[in-house]
């Protein structure tokens, strides 16, 4: 029977599990742990905490993919827009190559779109051994139904053990459907990936509770193991023009391309310099910016550093910047190389959207502002004085 069990003979009533439980589901009664099954989500935090005593066990009786050992290879779903392969695809190929080399298998890229055929060679240079291409006018725009149908069909036919997809608006939409069609596990928004060589499973690490904790997720008994991966986290490989690979163009029956949904218009509202999720440097402003016009100052600094401008929820709600620039829980999660927070106090909702940035620089008048607790560098001072000085200084050295 599936479920969680406390072995009363082993339990010493130490309460470690009580402290570890994120759901307050455990109490100690008569020196024995008692789990409230209405609160327990079987997250296994207590099992981890009890590892020494080993008094708690979660038994999983689960279904299993038939012929699981026949699933071989690491795949990448290549995201392209208007025929341009997105940088995240190269990052995923870099990671896929590393995982595949550990497992001793090949890397395949799946490229769907219209007018994309000539991009296949570059995917080989970036680490793929095989590229499956379907180039069809019906795939010009991303559409969930045909994309999911073709992807699921290819997976059923070739049986990869792992499929990586970007955790973008396209990737998350389509792979969620694929996971259901194949009835396999899917882990969202991974920031670290590794493989266990004995059992060949993918160790999928991702932030949870807004990055306050990290969780490593497994899908032991199902193949392929599907993961969406945060962009700008994995390292891409430099193109190697001597790499050889195999390109397979695939045609599908017309029924594969049917879609109840159609795209009527594509509007690119944000320019490359404002696509904050792709920027290497982000200069963000908060409530202390005190007005829309003052964001010009941040644009100047971002301009010198070839970066983009972000904003906290407070600034967005004031209408100083459009929503596309919002960083944080109800906006975008970003992880640039350098994040410069100007006049942002650092509420938890903002921190969860930017705390995985490589380097965080905070400028704030209040030395006790929470933003300083995550900052690698901080300047306590008035943004209206500090930011222009910073722009001037960077102009001299960059």
């Amino acid at each position: 029977m599936s479920g969680i069990t406390v072995y009363k003979d082993k339990c010493i009533g130490c309460s470690l599990c009580v402290k570890a439980c994120p759901f307050e589901a455990i109490t100690v009664v008569d020196k024995k742990a008692v789990i409230d099954l209405d609160k327990c989500t079987l997250c296994s935090s207590c099992v981890e905490a009890c590892r020494k005593t080993n008094a708690i066990e979660i038994i999983r009786e689960t279904t299993r993919t038939p012929d699981i050992e026949k699933y071989k290879g690491v795949w990448v779903f290549v995201e392209q827009k208007k025929g341009v392969v997105q940088p995240v695809a190269f990052e995923l190929l870099g990671k896929a190559r590393e995982l595949a080399d550990k497992l001793g298998v090949g890397v395949a890229a799946v490229l769907l779109g219209h007018g994309v055929k000539d991009k296949a060679q570059e995917l080989i240079q970036r680490g793929a051994d095989t590229v499956y291409v379907t180039d069809d006018p019906k795939l010009e725009h991303f559409l969930d139904e045909p994309y999911a149908r073709i992807l699921a069909n290819l997976i059923r036919k070739h049986r990869p053990e792992i499929l990586l997809s970007p955790a973008t608006s396209i990737g998350r939409s389509v792979v969620s459907r694929v996971a259901v069609q194949l009835r396999v596990g899917l882990t969202a928004d991974c920031t670290a990936l590794d493989v266990n060589l004995e059992e060949r499973f993918l160790l999928q690490t991702r932030p949870a509770f807004g990055g306050n904790i990290m969780a490593t997720i497994l899908s032991r008994h199902h193949r392929p193991q599907l993961a969406t991966v945060r962009h700008k986290v994995m390292k891409e490989l430099a193109p190697d023009i001597s790499r050889k690979g195999h390109i397979e163009s695939l045609a599908f029956d017309r029924s594969f391309f049917t879609s109840r949904t159609k795209v009527l218009e594509v509007v690119d509202a944000v320019t490359a310099t404002v696509n904050i999720t792709e920027a290497n440097v982000i200069v963000s402003g908060g409530r202390a910016m005190a007005g829309a016009a003052n964001f010009k100052m941040l644009e100047d600094l971002a301009g010198v550093l070839n970066g983009a401008v972000g904003a906290s929820r407070a600034a967005i709600d004031e209408g100083w910047m459009p929503y596309a620039h919002q960083v944080g829980q109800t906006g975008k999660t970003v992880c640039p190389k350098v994040y410069i927070a100007c006049g942002i106090s650092g509420q938890i909702q903002h921190l969860v959207g930017m705390q995985s940035s490589d380097i965080i620089i905070a400028i704030n008048r209040d030395p006790s502002a929470p933003i300083f607790s995550v900052a690698n560098y901080g300047i306590v001072g008035d943004i209206f004085e500090v930011v222009p000085l910073l722009t001037k200084k960077f102009k001299q050295v960059v």
Binding site: P22, C43, I58, V180, A208, K337, I379
Partner: protein, 260 residues
């Protein structure tokens, strides 16, 4: 126009703190709230009803105490509420959750649009909405920032992308997931609050939705949490105080090799 809104009860992360000593998540006294994105879903559902008639049904899967967010949904304008709750659902991952909710929705039967928030703030997966759509084999539009039109069995909406948005049209019934930009949720009315107090919340168990035992809870969940840990704390930063020019010079010097 009958709308189903899927909502989730989540811990209010504004109150979640990390214990500095044990490094555990301190949830003591942390209250549960409607997932913020689901508040936009409720509001959009109620607006569709106000425009086209019909009714809005709020549905959640969770422990018995999740009834609270359903009452809140009624206070905000939903007509009916269904709590899908059973110990057999414990340990559900996104696949099992999508399956369970799709079975409950199939039981409701009569719907034109299902609305979900784009993701929940505790799990942040954004997988359950599309999962439900795939299970029900209906089309989906994710990340909707505006519903432009609903007529002749079709819905036209603006779907946010990383670069801007797309205008997308699909056939009803369909599922949409919504982003913050779509509306500004209203506050509960006094009448709504009264209604919420006395509302009868339907409670459905696994047997009521005819869920297959090996597709729910732990058994129906291919993924498992193997390990939970606290992310390595960021090293104590260099905080510069004092005269601005001096701080700026020192900061820019420190960034040598990184930015230039």
């Amino acid at each position: 126009m009958n709308v189903i809104v899927c909502i989730k009860q989540v811990p209010d992360t504004t109150e979640v703190r990390i214990d500095p000593v044990t490094k555990n998540l301190v949830r003591e006294g942390v209250k549960s709230i409607i997932n913020p994105f689901d508040a936009y879903a409720i509001e959009e559902g109620v607006r569709l009803k106000e425009k086209f008639g019909g009714k809005v049904t709020a549905i959640t899967m969770g422990p018995p105490q999740a009834e609270g967010v359903l009452r809140e949904a009624i206070s905000l304008g939903c007509d009916d509420a269904i709590l899908v709750s059973d110990r057999a659902f414990a340990g559900s991952d996104t696949l099992a959750t999508g399956y369970t909710l799709s079975k409950a929705i199939a039981k409701i039967k009569d719907y034109d649009v299902i609305i979900c928030g784009k993701q929940a703030i505790d799990g942040d997966t954004a997988q359950v909405g599309p999962g439900i759509a795939a299970m029900l084999d209906i089309p989906q539009i994710t990340y909707v920032r505006k519903i432009s039109d609903v007529k002749d069995g079709e819905i036209t909406a603006e779907r946010s992308t990383e670069e801007g948005y797309e205008v997308v049209q699909t056939k009803l019934p369909c599922l949409i997931t919504v982003v913050k930009e779509i509306n500004t949720p209203r506050l509960p009315s006094l009448k709504g609050k009264m209604k919420a107090k006395s509302a009868v919340i339907q409670a459905w168990k696994a047997v009521d939705i005819e869920a297959e035992a090996d597709r729910i809870g732990l058994k129906g969940s291919p993924t498992e949490v193997w390990k939970i840990f606290t992310p390595p704390a960021r090293a104590q930063g260099m905080i510069l105080q004092g005269e601005a020019q001096g701080s700026v010079d020192q900061l820019v010097d420190s960034l040598k090799g990184l930015l230039y």
